[in-house]
Structures are given as structure tokens and as C-alpha cells.
Symmetry: C2
């Protein structure tokens, strides 16, 4: 059995308004242990490139790509589909459900909306999960879900093929670079 | 002994560029259990108002305010000062240190930088903490620290004096409103 994959789907990206938030979603997905982010909404080659450049420099296999047809992608995704919404089911309970599915070998799709999420997304998802019931941030919600799904190990992941690497340090900056 | 407070200091806010990221920092601070956010950098009444309006609607005592003199604020803060930086000390170990200080009744200051953080901040902090050693997002870093410091309880916090509240739900949207 292959290790289940974690894929992030970012819906409804708006080139200007969501520039940094969508970039942060991609970087968080990579740094917290997801395998891929699929962007939908307005096409934005710069966004995809920005996130993939981080991989080139910092290593690993994480990929960002753009898919204009989010509906088809969502419907045909092979795995357990989780939509993050502050209307959803309680966090800890929901996380256990996802972990159970992943333990059974299922891939997980984490869906992150922008401003207004179509009703269909709620219906096409296997789980509507709330990361708290207060308004905050899709970047934070994504980070917390990935943190729990990887039991914190996402944060400690070793990325291969890096050109730059940070060595943890209480004082100052320790950076290692290589060809 | 009073319950130790958690205060967030957002450094170097830039009105245009950081508009949404700084807002997300404020909302995350509130939703994950901090008591206050202090913004520094470019003055931005709209930002402070946006975050405080969320309190008026969704309840609780969380406050956002602006302080142009971050250096003085940082130097005179009464408590344990933690600067989030991906150059810093390993996450789990660092979190234990903060918890220990808070257990002894100390307030915690969580410092979140923008683009370029002055060297002084590293030196004035009691702890430089890395939330992973990969580039990601100050919003995510803040969320993960607060999540750990409150043992996940921040997410479940009940806010008093709300006008709107969400009831967790697997399907659909359950919203309660009152005067």
C-alpha cells in the first residue's frame, strides 16, 4: 500500500486580491507536509511559479499547479475530500475521521476556499471541517489541519535536493548553502 | 496569581502590501486565544478597526491597537518575549520553554515580523522560535504557536457578548444571531 497523499485545492483565487494569501497557502502546504497544491479560480502563472521556485531552492517534491476545472478535479479526486469552513464539524472529531481514512490508505484532499464558496463544494465534500467556529484565516486553518494530520511531523520534514537549508539556532542565523 | 496574558506584536506593517496578512494575524490571534494584538509599522486605522469590529460582532475581549514605538513596547513588556523566525530554535522544545514561563505566571509576547526584521528584535527577545525551518507564513506560524500554547483549547474558546455565533455542523450553515 502506498503512503496516502495529501493534496490541497485552493478555490476561487483572485489574482490581485489573493496574491499573498494564495502564496502563503502554497508555502504552508509544502512546509507542513502536503504533496501538492492545485490552484483554481483566476489563472496566475506567477503564483504557481513563485511556489515552485521555493521547491527548487529549498528542496523536496512538492508541486504547485493550476487547474481551471475545479469541479471536475473535485469530483474525480480519488480519496477523502475535506472542505475547511467555519460552519463545519468540530475540529478534533473531524481530524480523527480523516486520519482513519488515511490509515486505510485513502488520499486526502483539503479544500480551501476564498471569499464565497459555492454550495456544491459543501455537498461534494466527504467532510466539512471547522477549524474553530470564529472567523480567522484559511492559511491558519490549513496549517492546523496539516499539523494535526501529520502529528506535527510535517514541520520536521527533511526535504531532499535542497540548495539552502536553515539550521535551528537560539541566536543568529545559521544558513547552509550548496551548489 | 492572574492568568498569564498572551499578547501578539506585529512588526513592520505596510498599509498596502500587508493589508490582508496583518488582518489575518489579528483574527488568528483572537480566534486562537490571545488577548491582544499590537500593530506597529505604518499606522493603519482601518486595520485596527477591522479587527476590533470582529470582536464587536463575534464577542470576547480581544483588542487590536496601534503602537508606533515598537522598540519601547518590546523593551518594557512585562513577560517572556518570543520572536517567531524560521532561523530560530526548534519548535517543540521552544514551546515547552514558553509554557514553563507561563506556568510561573509570566505573560507571553509573540512577535511576528513582516519582510525584514531588525537585528535588535532577535536580541531583545528571550526566545527566537522557529515554526519549522522552511519558508511559509507568519499567519500559520502564529496559529501553530497559539494552538500549542493553549493545548488546542484556544480553538474551542467561548466568547461572551457575541451577536453572531456558528453552531458546528456536518452539513449546511447553522448561524445564531441575537440583538
Amino acid at each position: 500500500m502506498n503512503k496516502p497523499k495529501i493534496v490541497v485545492l485552493r478555490l476561487g483565487h483572485r489574482r490581485e486580491r489573493d496574491k499573498r494569501i494564495s502564496t502563503h497557502c502554497g508555502l504552508v502546504a509544502r512546509a507542513l507536509g502536503a504533496d501538492e497544491i492545485v490552484y483554481s479560480g483566476e489563472e496566475d502563472a506567477g503564483l504557481v511559479e513563485r511556489v515552485n521556485k521555493v521547491r527548487e531552492k529549498w528542496g523536496g517534491k512538492f508541486k504547485a499547479r493550476y487547474d481551471p476545472e475545479w469541479r471536475r478535479f473535485l469530483k474525480t479526486f480519488n480519496g477523502f475530500k475535506v472542505h475547511l469552513t467555519f460552519y463545519g464539524e468540530e475540529f478534533a472529531t473531524g481530524v480523527l475521521k480523516i486520519k482513519k481514512e488515511m490509515k486505510n490508505g485513502k488520499n486526502a484532499l483539503i479544500i480551501v476556499g476564498a471569499e464565497k464558496v459555492p454550495r456544491e463544494v459543501y455537498e461534494l465534500s466527504d467532510l466539512n471541517l471547522s477549524v474553530g467556529n470564529q472567523p480567522h484565516s484559511e492559511v491558519a486553518a490549513l496549517a492546523l489541519v496539516l499539523y494535526e494530520l501529520t502529528n506535527g511531523a510535517g514541520l520536521k520534514k527533511i526535504f531532499n535536493a535542497w540548495k539552502v537549508r536553515i539550521v535551528p539556532s537560539g541566536r543568529g542565523k545559521k544558513v547552509v548553502e550548496r551548489g
